[in-house]
Each structure stands twice: as C-alpha cells, then as structure tokens.
Symmetry: C2
Subunit: 279 residues, 2 copies
C-alpha cells in the first residue's frame, strides 16, 4: 500500500468512508474569492483540475460527460427551445454545450462568483470557447434572486449547474427556488438540476424531485451517467417538466464525446434500487 | 486537505494518476495463498472489503452491480440457457445470481484459488448463499486448461469473472482462450467477460472484442455500468455471440438491486467516444 504524499490532492467523502485522489504536477492558481477558495492544478492524468473549497469541480479529462448530460438531454426533450437560463455553471462548460444547438437564441448565465469564470477562461479555455458568442450573456450575481425577479415565462430551459447542497448553495435545492424556476419557465419549460450520486444520495434525489413536484411541476425524470471525479463515480441530474413529459425527443446533429441518441434513452433507465421505496 | 493515514486502504492507478481510498475499521484476514495475497477488512462505509494483491476485488456495498451485470444480461439474451461455466468468480457472487434463474440446470465454477472462496464463505456469506445449491459444482483448478479440455458444445453461457489482465490472468484475455470458449459453447452460446473501464481502457475493450471476433464469434456487444470501487467508477463487460446476436431478450422475474428490463437495454448504449475510432 503506497501512501499519499503532498503530490496528491485527496477529496474525502467522510459520510461514505471513501476518498478520491488525483496526482498533481503543479499548482497553477490559488485565491480566496469573495465566496470560496478557488484552486487550479495541473494533474498527471486528468489534465487540469479546479477545486472550490477543497472539492473537485471539474477536470479537463472527464468534464465532458457532466456538461453534455446537463444540457443535451433537456434541450432535445423540449420541442423548440430558444431561451436558456444557466444558474451557476461558472466554468462555462454547460454554456458551450447549449450554444452548439443552432436554434438557441439567447443564453443567460448567472454565476455568483466571477472569479470561477475568470479562472476557467484562463485555465480551461476550451470550455469558454463560446463565451463571446453574441447569443451568450454572462452575469455575476445571485441566481436565486435573479430567477425570483425574472419575467414570468421568460425561459424555455433552466439549468442548475451548482455545487453540492451545503452553505450558500442549499437555497438552490429549496421548494421556493423550484417555484421561482416554475414561474420563470415558458409553457413547455423544463428545469434540470444536478442531483448528486445515485449510490450515495438516493434520498436527496428523491426529496429534490418531491420538492419539484410540490413546486408545481407535472413530472420529473432522473438522468444517470458516469462521472469519474465526483463521489462514487456515478452521478445524476433531475429534470422537471412544467407541462406533460414529452413522449419523445428531437435528435440533433451536434458534435459530442458522450451524448448521442442511444445514450439519451439509456440515461433514463432507473436501477432497481431507485424504484424500491426502501433505503 | 486531510492526509491519508494507516486507517485507510488506498489503491493507486499509476497509469491514470488517480487513486481510490476506503476507510478501514478492522483487519479481518491476511494470508499469502499459493497464488496471491488475500486480505479482508471491515470498512466504515462499504461493509467488508476483499483485496487480492492489493487491488480491490469487491465490497459488500457495491458488488451487486457488477455481479448482476455479469450474469443477468447474458442469461436473458440466450433463448434457453441450462448449463453455465464460470471461470474465476471465486467470491461466488456471480454463481448466486446465475442460480436465481430457475431454468438453469448446472453451473460449473472453476476458480484457481480456493482460498478466495474460503474467505468469501467466511466474510461474505450473503454471496455464498447458493454454494450448496445442488445445481452448483465448484472446482478449484486452472480455468484455461479446464475450458481447453471441455467437451465441445457443453456450455450455453461462459462467464469470465477474472482479475485485471496482469500476470497469470493475461491468459484469460488471449485469442486462444476465446477460441477454447467458442468450442466449449453450444450453438447459441454466449461468452461474457469483464472488460475494465470505458474511460481508462477503451483500447483494451476494443482489442478484446477484436480477439473474440478472430476466435470465431459472430458478433460482440459491450455492457456499461457504474462500479464505484473499480478504477474510474465506471466498468464494462464484453459479450461475444457464437450465433447471430439475439434481437431481443427474455424478461425474467428475479429479485435484483440494479438490473431490470430497462437497464438491460440501457447498458448496451455506446457512448459517442466509444463509437469513434480515434483514441
């Protein structure tokens, strides 16, 4: 058993008794922003690594799965999406994926911490390739207040690309927040929010979707996908539908590394333990 | 950043620059068998943990996904499986899953290291619940020699539940081994073998399936599933069909925690990067 040294970053998931480590070759950036500690490292196997408050946000190597699955399924399930709101998403990976859809007319991104976007532009330029697209509008302010004050029915899609439900971010998991999203969505609008690990956080996924239903949404669906550098290596997103859940999806001709038509359907398959009501 | 201590077991994947750690509460067993170092620990979050030569073989918490996906898809794709051969599989988790299918008449398990099964019977008794089923036959000998000497057409299904392709186990990834499996299979026979991580070992998966085709199999299919405690948290199995690939599968009424009809189909969806020929 080799021991970890200072050449490794280790994120411990204390409630689960497990930890993931990535081998580092160089520290590229460290600062305390107004909101959180922001670090960027070069790793030996995963390209670049961004940490927020000591938690892995993304790596160059595996972020494609998360960003594609937070965007393409929901966009392809909406009959004609034009206006998109991204809450969080400061690394701009979701923004880039959304803008691959030519029918999109406007994407409003609302990230609390402008330094996250600054760091992504500097250290993950590939994720920020579409930041200057004339359809993109980047604001750095509080996403909860933003959606509470938004014009009713303004957005076809709302994507909540947030950190885990701790501290400031817990508000992004509240029924009141989901109700504001409901109001901000157009008639066939769809909300999608990252919803943690199926293996570790089954109860959270189910309670999030209950709150979405309580907030007025007609139905919810879970998406499952691998995500190597997040706890358990397996992740989920929860979709909530303002109208009836669409019975099919549009297939689109965009360049992806993970998502495709078969994956669109496969990601919705519920493992048996998620169907059972026991924990 | 908390550092790892002697209370944690860490498995490093040196080629990938990452590592997984599990928190330990007690060492239950350690021995050098004739073949490998065998350890069993109590963990704080994953139940019990078995290591072979310092690599995680299984934990109580997450082995259900691997064992179900190595057995039920292949059994449900065969029109009428009766005789099954398991090569490796000493923890008996695959054996238990196979025996849930009532139509199965005989399961021959061939594990090189009898001490693995001894340890599983002692420390993972739930996996060994069917070891005394009259349909089960456990042999402790070399799986490669066994299948080379097997009667032609003897088995409907062959399951290769092996360790990674290093040392002794590399023979289980050879074309000659796949050819012996082909000969040992009945007309509609199917081979399934664990085939490592889609994220880390795409080339291995593709070369395994090429060798299966070279050995005479008419077609191959990859199954994808999460597996928290294996490298990258995402795993695969490769199926090879002696006859035409079945166009549909039987649904069966068995108790599972991960597998079901929807998962059967979903597990076969190919991520886009697996379809591309570039690395």
């Amino acid at each position: 058993m080799k021991l970890m040294t200072e050449k490794w970053f280790t994120e411990i998931y204390p409630d689960e008794g497990c930890a993931l480590s990535l081998e580092l070759s160089e520290k590229l950036h460290e600062e305390q922003t107004d909101w959180q500690k922001l670090e960027v490292y070069q790793t030996t196997g995963f390209g670049r690594l961004m940490l927020l408050d000591g938690c892995i946000m993304l790596t160059s190597r595996d972020n494609f799965i998360y960003h594609e699955m937070m965007t393409h399924p929901v966009l392809c399930m909406h009959p004609a999406p034009e206006n998109v709101l991204i809450i969080g998403g400061g690394d701009c990976g979701c923004l880039r994926e959304v803008l691959k859809h030519r029918a999109i007319k406007h994407v409003q991104q609302v990230e609390l911490d402008g330094r996250v976007t600054w760091a992504s532009e500097k250290y993950f330029p590939e994720l920020c390739a579409s930041n200057n697209d004339p359809r993109a509008e980047l604001s750095f302010t509080d996403g909860v207040s933003f959606i509470e004050q938004a014009e009713s029915g303004r957005y076809d899609i709302i994507i909540v690309d947030s950190v885990d439900p701790v501290g400031q971010a817990t508000r992004l998991y509240d029924k009141e927040f989901y109700r504001a999203c409901f109001n901000g969505l157009s008639n066939h609008g769809i909300l999608v929010a990252q919803s943690e690990s199926p293996l570790f956080h089954k109860n959270l996924i189910q309670s999030m979707q209950s709150r979405m239903a309580d907030a007025g949404f007609k139905g919810t669906t879970t998406l499952f996908f691998p995500q190597c550098t997040y706890p358990s290596g397996w992740w989920s997103a929860s979709m909530a539908f303002k109208a009836d859940r669409p019975s099919n999806h549009r297939s689109v001709d965009i360049e992806t590394k993970y998502y495709n038509n078969a994956i669109h359907l496969a990601a919705q398959a519920m493992p048996q333990f998620m169907l059972n009501t026991d924990k």
